[in-house]
Structures are given as C-alpha cells and as structure tokens.
C-alpha cells in the first residue's frame, strides 16, 4: 500500500513540476544499448491493458444485459490505473481467475478458451516483466526476442492443443462433457450421435502434443536465438 502511495505521490510531484516548469534539466543518460530497444513503460502499458482486455472480453462472449456489461467495462477501466501504478502478475492472475469463474457459468467453448488462454498468458508475462523492469528501463530487442521465442513456443503448444481439441470436436462431434456439440449449441438442431471415445480421442491427442512439446523443450535446454 505504501508503495502505491509513494508512486502516486512521486507521479503527482513530477506532474506538478512539469506544469509549473520548475523541473530542472534531467541528467543525461548513458549510451548503453546496441541496436533498437524498447522502453520499460511500453511493457507496463501492456501489463495494464491486457488484463483489462481480458476482463472486457469475458462478458462479451455471452449475451449479458447491457447495464451489466457497461458496469463490468467501467470497473475494468477504473482498475486500469491501479495496474499501471502497481505492475504485477496479480492483475493478470485475477483477470484469469475472473474469466475462469465467468466461463464456468457458460457452456464450454474451445475457441473462447483458446483466446482467453493466450491473452491471459500474455498478460501474465507482461505483468511479470513489468514488475521486474522499471518504466525508465531500456529493454533490448534481442532480449525481448529471447523472451518472445519461449513465449511463442508456449503459445504455439497451447494453440496446437486447442486446435486439436477443436478439430477432434469437429470430427467426432463430441464435446468433453460427453454431449454433442450441436445439442449444446442449438437445441433445435438435429441431435448427432456422439461416440464416447470421441472425447477420449481429443484428450489423448492434446496430451500427446503436450508431452511431445515438453520433451522437446526439456531436451533442448536452449539459450534461445542470439
């Protein structure tokens, strides 16, 4: 709490100095970077925006009442400054938890699940980097690519698992609840027959992809692209 107050007070002080013009000439910065670099505040911005995006997208998948939707959006935007002043993974994890709770009340949707997984993961990574990197820091593009390479692998694995599950769902016509997709999505549709092995097939395929990925990642022990 003290940290938030201190940061808020410092920001107000800086703003006041900027407005009154009493801010002295800033000290020069050491030329340290090689090639292009990103400022830390970009990561902080991402860490503030991505959880809000997740919070806003979550109710959009359902037909919630407009006042509820508007309330959620206003609340999500209202907590934005908090995420900016106190960057951490907590914001992303809270957003993921909220999304998971909200999704429980909805019928399962692999497409939305995949989208939430990717945005949630990016929000978590941005929050983690923002908590470790001050706003004035310079993050070299090569270091970002190193981080990005690993994140890309994780997201590709997630997307593959999700894609296989979707494909399996499409091929077998089965959801993981054991009911048919058509039955769940449209009660008036023709009820398809769903073989119980369908869901098992999808889970096994996703698990195989996961194991393959983990084995690959574990054996590589890589340092990433240099």
């Amino acid at each position: 709490m003290n940290s938030i107050i201190t940061r808020f007070r410092n920001s107000l002080l800086r703003l006041g100095q900027l407005v009154t013009g009493s801010r002295s000439t800033p000290l020069p910065e050491l030329p340290l970077t090689q090639g292009s670099a990103l400022r830390g505040w970009v990561i902080h911005l991402a860490a503030a925006i991505l959880p809000i995006l997740l919070l806003i997208l979550t109710p959009l998948r359902t037909h919630v009442a407009t006042p509820v939707l508007v309330t959620i959006i206003i609340l999500a935007i209202a907590v934005g400054p908090l995420f900016w002043f106190l960057p951490s993974t907590a914001s992303a994890l809270i957003a993921i938890g909220f999304t998971a709770l909200f999704s429980l009340a909805q019928p399962p949707s692999l497409g939305w699940g995949l989208l939430f997984a990717l945005i949630g993961y990016l929000a978590f990574r941005a929050g983690l980097m923002a908590s470790q990197t001050p706003r004035s820091a310079k993050v070299e593009a090569s270091a970002l690519m190193q981080f990005g390479f690993r994140d890309l692998m994780v997201m590709i694995a997630t997307a593959l698992a999700g894609g296989i599950a979707l494909l399996g769902q499409r091929l077998t016509g089965c959801n993981f609840t054991g009911a048919s997709v058509a039955e769940m999505s449209d009660v008036n549709a023709v009820v398809q027959t769903c073989h119980p092995s369908g869901s098992v097939f999808v889970v096994l395929a996703a698990a195989a992809i996961l194991l393959l990925f983990l084995g690959l990642a574990g054996s590589l022990s890589f340092r990433g692209s240099r």
């Binding site: 013009g21 009493s22 000439t25 800033p26 000290l27 020069p28 910065e29 050491l30 030329p31 340290l32 970077t33 670099a37 830390g40 993974t89 907590a90 993921i96 998971a100 999704s103 429980l104 399962p108 692999l110 939305w112 699940g113 995949l114 997984a117 990717l118 949630g120 993961y121 978590f124 990574r125 929050g127 983690l128 980097m129 908590s131 470790q132 990197t133 001050p134 820091a137 310079k138 070299e140 090569s142 270091a143 190193q146 981080f147 690993r150 994140d151 994780v154 694995a157 997630t158 698992a161 999700g162 599950a165 609840t177 889970v203 996961l210 990925f213 574990g218 022990s221 340092r223 990433g224």
Partner: protein, 428 residues
Amino acid sequence: MTTNSPPTYWGVPRAYRAAFGLSTALAIWGLLFHRFDLALMAMPLLLATFMSRNLLPTDRTIGKFVAQPDSQTAFSLQMPESMNVDAKQLRVYAQGYRPTILVTNRDQVDLVLNTKRTGPQPTFTVHGRGIGVFGLLVENPWIVTADETFGLPNSYPLGQMPAPTRLRGLTGARQSRRIGDGGDLRDIAPMRPGDSLRRVNWRATGRRSPDLTQLYVRRTFANAEGIAELVIDSRDDVGPDIETWLGSAPLRVDDLTSLDLARHAAASVAGALIGAGDRVGLEDLAYQKRPVAAATGQRQLRRIQQALALSAPHGEPTEVVRPPRLPNDAVIYLFSTLLDDSPVSLATGWVDQGNPVIVVNTLPKVRTGRRAKLALAWRIAALEREQRIANLKSRAIPVVDWQTADSIIPSAELTKIARMQAKQRGRR
C-alpha cells in the same frame, strides 16, 4: 510435475507460486468436470512454470570490469556465459548521469564515461542480476564497481602573461635591470677591476681613447627569473546549476564546476609562466599542508597539474583563511569563486605587502533554474559578489573571468593586463 530446486543464489518470485497454484487448480477443475476450455486457459501457465523449473540456470552472472586499452574512462562489463539465463538486468550508476537500467542478453556491455571533470572521480557501479527462463527465476543481485579515474587539468595556451615586477637571481629567461651576464647591451663603460677582457669593446676604445690609456668594455643587463605563486581556493566546488550547490541534486557530467575551471586556469597559467622560464609554485587554501615549492621546467608543470587534480574541498568552507607564506617578489594568481570575503582580504593583504595580484574568477555561468526562492537567493549572493569584485578593482587588483560568454580562455584579457603592467613599469 517435476520440480527441481534452483541454486541457492537464484530466487523464486511469488508470481511463480501464484501462477502454479492458479493454473493447477484450473487444470484439475477442467479435467475433473470435462471443461477443456478451462484446462486450456491453465495450459500456458503450467507449461511456463514447468519449463522454468526444468531449465535451471547453471551459474551466476556476476560481471567484472575490464578497462579498455588507451582509455581511463572506457570499460567493458563482461559477464560469464551461463545456460538458461534469458537476460540480465543491469542498473548502471555513473556520476553525472541518470541511473540507467538495461535489460540485455549480451555477455559484454561497453561503458564509456564522457566526462569533462578533472580530479579523482568514481566511474561506474553496476547492480546486476540474471533473469531465468520465463522470468520465473531471478538471481540475487550482485554489485561490481569499476576503478576510479583521474582527470588531469588541461594546460591551454595563453599569450603574454602578467609578469612579476621584481626579479631575482642572475639566471633565467627574463632581463633584469642589473648589470650582469646577459644578452642585451646596457652601456659602454671604462674597464674596471673584475671586468673580463672578452668584454672590451675595441671599436669604442679606439674612438674614445686613441692612445689606449683607458679601455672600454661593453656592459649588459643581467638575466633573471620571476616567481609566480598560484593560489587555488578549493574550499568550495560549485557547478553552474545552483540547485546542486547544497549537494541534494547531482551534477551533470557535462558541467564544469568552479574547481574544474580553477584547475584548468591554474594549469594554463602555470604552463604559460613555466614556458616563459619563470619559477611557479602552488598553494591550496583548503589544504595548506602540502604546497608545491616554486620551481621551473616541464617536470614542475606536471607536478603542479598533479597537485591541482588532487585539490579538493576538505569539509565545510572555513570563513577565516590563514594567508599562505608567499615570497615577497612573487606575482600572485588567485583562483577563486569570490563567494565569500576571504579571497578579497587575502588579495588586498598581498597587495599591501607589495605583491602584484591577479584574481581569476572561476565561478561558472550560473543557471538559477525556475525556482523563485533559489533565484532570489542567487540574486542576493551575486550582488554581494559584485561588491567584492568592485572592492578588488578599486584597489587596482585585476579580476579576470575565466569562463566568459565568448570563450573559456581569457587570453586577450591577460595580455591586456600584462601590457598595462609593463606600461606602468616603464613610467616608473
């Protein structure tokens, strides 16, 4: 899930436990209740936490500074190559620079301190740490500091310099008014006991004494040397930014302080006077225990440059300054900011003793900033200072600004003073 414990010097942030807990809960929920969408949401976090525990860093990333050849202010920070370290976070501190934070994955970072400052000064301090895979392992911070650098003042070329009015000795580069073994003709006089036969001027003898009853010799002016004493007022060291005077704000690396200007000025004056063959000594008002005795030659110039670089304020500036013991026949150059009355009383005291004094004002052009209180304080201080300069000028003590708007070297002004002194000497 396999969990390897990380090396002791690598810490696991709370985010790891939170992410692992949430993702595990979601995955279990999803699998138990056939909600693959929930399991999918947990999957990237689970993968990241799993991989971060299986791709552990092997070593620490503690860097070390290596000085680059032919440079006192350029260093390379070399960090060992260690497996499974995605990046290093470096917080670099250097005097006069903003602390800079860099996230890099290079094993070597080159650092150059572009400073104009003189004297001993710290260079770089780096607080660093490695960031493991996915940022879910963070190394305990390490600190390394580069060697100090030592900036010698420059000796800028100056023109004609105000010379001492009284010369001493029978050797040197200057010409005295006494008769002696010099180069310039003084007069032709009858030969007296002690005169060398080589000095007999046969042409003058033939003209004035054709019968050779009296020999005439050629008499010359003796050579001599002057003594100059440089007195540096290093009791205070203030920069151009008035906000830095209390020490609460750091000085910019590209700003010269009053002491830097004093060092450059004293080194330049010493270079010019030693070049003219004079003996030059140095006194430090803040630290009078180790004066540099007057001597001449290039070694003396280097000695003075070294002593100047080492001069620094010692504690709070004292109000009462004991006048250093200086030769009576020396010309005194006083390098001061004139921010208090002590230099004025010293200069007037020396003038009363008969020493010619030149005061070199080493206060840089002051920036008051936009803070009204500081601007007002500086206005009062500046008025007092102007009064002191006026007092000095009323006692015919020239005050030379070392840093002017046009140039940083007041060569023309010093030449003007030298000519004026020569003219006054001629009148006498």
